[in-house]
């Protein structure tokens, strides 16, 4: 009996040890570090809330937050509707063509952010890039557009690259959810005279609400953790872009923590970022009504 009582803990032990060493200890250490200033590898000093004071008085942090929020908003308002639209289209198709399209649309996600960043840095090249050539051929304009050098075009460039990367990925979630919607309910609504839009809005969408909320929350979290894509796309400026036009919160963290070398300040940025993500996710879940359920 005594042996049985110990067994579950023994089996859990490896996971708990890993969790303790690689998650809880770094979290606790980061919480302590956020109140310290570090200088190179060896020296630390307690500075109270000074790291947080600096972050909230640094215009660069607000620029990073603004860029990241714009990206997050576009993820939710542009990327997800596109994913949903594609899912609806594919849900109606049949046979091999549908499977092939699904693979084609999903495949950008297989290569990862760094590859997409490098690829789009070539596509967005002024004068010789495919995007500029296409614009020039189609509209007689845009050949010399500096997508990655003009502060006004940097965020659109990142968003376009992210669209290519993630639209297909989110589409898979929506497609799976669409296929599990009760067809008899949709059929009943149609029989009652509902239009296609009414069926979608009043029957289909509510039926897949859990998946939609999940995708919105994960997209928001992913957006606020954006790092590799701008780093590869804007590699000559370490992911910041001209005049910090492509700077994200995590790139700002990397910059102050690992380039300037103040890990204390980096940890404080990490905590601020975690609180923002946590709050937004909570709000999203609350407003979607899932919390009550």
């Amino acid at each position: 009996m005594k042996q049985r009582g110990l067994a579950p803990y023994l089996f859990l032990a490896p996971y708990l040890v890993v969790l303790l060493v690689f998650t809880l200890y770094p979290l606790a250490n980061a919480a302590v570090l956020a109140f310290q200033q570090t200088n190179g590898p060896a020296t630390r000093a307690f500075v109270g809330f000074d790291n947080f004071r600096f972050i909230f008085s640094d215009p660069t942090f607000y620029q990073a937050l603004k860029n990241t929020t714009i990206f997050a908003a576009c993820s939710v308002l542009v990327q997800l509707p596109l994913s949903m639209g594609l899912a609806l289209l594919l849900n109606e198709g049949k046979g091999r063509a549908r499977a092939l399209l699904r693979l084609v649309l999903f495949s950008p996600n297989l290569v990862g952010q760094i590859f997409v960043g490098v690829l789009f840095s070539v596509l967005f090249t002024a004068r010789y890039g495919l995007v500029n050539r296409f614009l020039q051929a189609l509209f007689g304009w845009g050949l010399e557009k500096q997508w990655l050098q003009d502060p006004a075009l940097v965020m659109p460039a990142i968003i376009i690259a992210a669209l290519w990367l993630y639209v297909g990925f989110n589409m898979i979630y929506f497609l799976a959810a669409l296929q599990s919607v009760d067809k008899t309910l949709e059929e009943a609504a149609r029989v009652d005279g509902a239009t296609r839009l009414q069926v979608f809005w009043n029957v289909t969408l509510p039926s897949m609400r859990h998946v939609v909320v999940f995708v919105v929350v994960t997209s928001l979290i992913g957006s606020y953790q954006l790092f590799e894509l701008p780093l590869a796309l804007l590699s000559s400026s370490n992911g910041r872009g001209p005049d910090n036009a492509g700077l994200t919160v995590i790139t700002y963290l990397y910059d102050v923590g690992f380039v300037t070398g103040d890990l204390g300040l980096g940890s404080a940025v990490g905590w601020v970022s975690a609180i923002i993500i946590f709050t937004l996710s909570l709000l999203q879940i609350r407003f979607s009504g899932l919390a009550e359920e």
């Binding site: 590898p41 600096f54 090249t125 500096q146 050098q149 400026s237 300037t260």
Partner: protein, 453 residues
């Protein structure tokens, strides 16, 4: 046994796997320790690798030791070294760092720097006088040198000799930037009449700060002085940005941005710009990556700001540091001297990389006098060596990235202003922006409570 194990088969197999992997890890560690070399050297420069491996073989034979040379991507090398130093886990004995990276490692009290202070060795062994002294600026903090400079990287201009000849332009007559800008009417043209300019004078960046930084260094303005004090806000900076904006924007512009990689190679081939800013490392990388422009280019010194002024600048660099945690510091120092101060070794490496060493007595090496087919028979090694003594100092600090970034911001805002309002209030805007951005960098610097020794 299977039946007698108290928790069933699956847990038994899990236990077996756990034990087997533990034994495997222990064995691997023990075997790894037995195979560990006497010296380990990590570099991020793939072009140096072959020459370093040959040098390591010579050193091994001479000293009866084992040396490993490892190629690591620059970002990975910097991050892994930082983390290893933080965690006090094993680090290589020698590391070749990229320009700018050393600033992180030299933050804080000198006693905490994880790299060996080479100042005394350089002085006592008479090596300092043999180097281009300004190059130690990249690798020094508070008067202490923590790495040996690998290079000088004087900046010249590569130019399309064939096109300039056909236009009847003699580059020897270009002495100053004013002379250079005066070539505009002959060069900048819409060649096919489609309303898009097809040929510019020079490739200069708009959204990146390297163009302005090179020009500032040419004028003797480093963003920081040798004490780490910010020097960004100066009259020469205002003049340079004002000049720069007029060259990259507006109807009289002389410059376009050709970018990097394939787009740069295509621009060079097409003659989109006729002049390209070229330190020695860039001439070599273009030689490697764009064989289709072989024989089209030559190099010339930068035009000076004033007659008789400095005809070069500098861009980039790498340096060799010895880690304090090394168990074989003296052996590492001897290997470093072989790599950076041995004439035969430098000659071999010059042939492979075309990068001018900072060791002044190596500039008479026959390899530097070899004519280059790529540059129409020009002896480019000698051309770069002629300019090397004039290369300006470029002091490193952890805040340099932020300062460069802010300077780039000033240039962009000046460009926006010039686009909208022309010269009206342009200089005042540059002055105001420089003051604001300097204050911003200084705020980050001043909050450092640990760097006040």
């Amino acid at each position: 046994m299977l039946e007698r194990f108290p928790f069933g088969r699956a847990p038994l197999w899990l236990l077996v796997l756990a034990l087997a992997s533990t034994v495997a890890v222990l064995l691997t560690q023990r075997l790894g320790a037995a195979a560990r070399p006497d010296l380990s050297f990590a570099t991020s420069a793939s072009t140096h690798m072959e020459a370093y491996r040959e040098a390591a073989a010579i050193f091994e034979k001479k000293r009866g030791v084992r040396v490993s040379v490892e190629l690591v991507h620059s970002r990975a090398l910097q991050t892994r070294l930082q983390n290893a130093m933080l965690a006090k886990s094993p680090v290589p004995d020698l590391v070749e760092l990229l320009y700018g990276d050393i600033a992180y490692f030299t933050r804080g009290p000198l006693s905490d720097v994880g790299l060996v202070d080479l100042t005394e060795r350089l002085d006592k062994q008479g090596l300092k006088e043999r180097l281009v002294e300004s190059r130690l600026s990249l690798w020094s903090s508070r008067g202490h040198a923590f790495a040996l400079p690998h290079d000088v990287h004087p900046v010249m201009l590569m130019y399309r000799a064939d096109i300039l000849e056909s236009l009847g332009i003699d580059v020897n007559a270009i002495e100053t930037w004013d002379d250079f800008v005066a070539l505009r009417p002959k060069v900048v043209k819409d060649l096919d009449g489609d309303g898009v300019i097809d040929r510019y004078l020079i490739d200069l960046p708009i959204g990146e700060s390297w163009g302005v930084l090179i020009l500032l260094l040419q004028r003797g303005v480093s963003l920081f002085d040798e004490h780490g004090k910010l020097q960004m806000n100066q009259p020469a900076t205002v003049d340079t940005i004002d000049w720069y904006v007029h060259q990259v924007e507006g109807k009289d512009r002389i410059a376009t941005q050709c970018g990097w990689g394939q787009s740069l190679m295509k621009a060079m081939k097409d003659g989109l710009a006729l002049f390209y800013v070229a330190p020695d490392w860039r001439t070599h990388s273009i030689e490697m990556e764009a064989p289709n422009v072989r024989g089209l280019f030559r190099v010339m010194p930068l035009p000076a700001w004033t007659p008789g002024g400095r005809r070069t600048s500098t861009w980039g660099g790498s340096g060799l540091a010895i880690t304090k945690a090394s168990q074989h510091v003296e052996l590492a120092w001897d290997f470093a001297k072989l790599l950076y101060f041995d004439r035969d070794e430098l000659g071999r490496r010059y042939r492979a990389t075309k990068i001018l060493p900072p060791l002044k007595d190596s500039w008479t090496l026959p390899e530097l006098a070899e004519p280059s087919d790529f540059f129409r028979g020009q002896r480019i090694g000698e051309e770069f060596a002629k300019l090397a003594p004039d290369v300006p100092a470029d002091w490193a600090t952890p805040y340099k990235g932020r300062a460069e970034d802010r300077l780039g911001g000033v240039v962009l805002h000046a460009l926006e202003h010039f686009r909208a309002h022309g010269d009206d209030g342009l200089r005042a805007l540059i002055q105001k922006e420089l003051a604001e951005k300097s204050a911003d960098v200084e705020e980050l610097m001043n909050r450092n409570v640990l760097d006040k020794e």
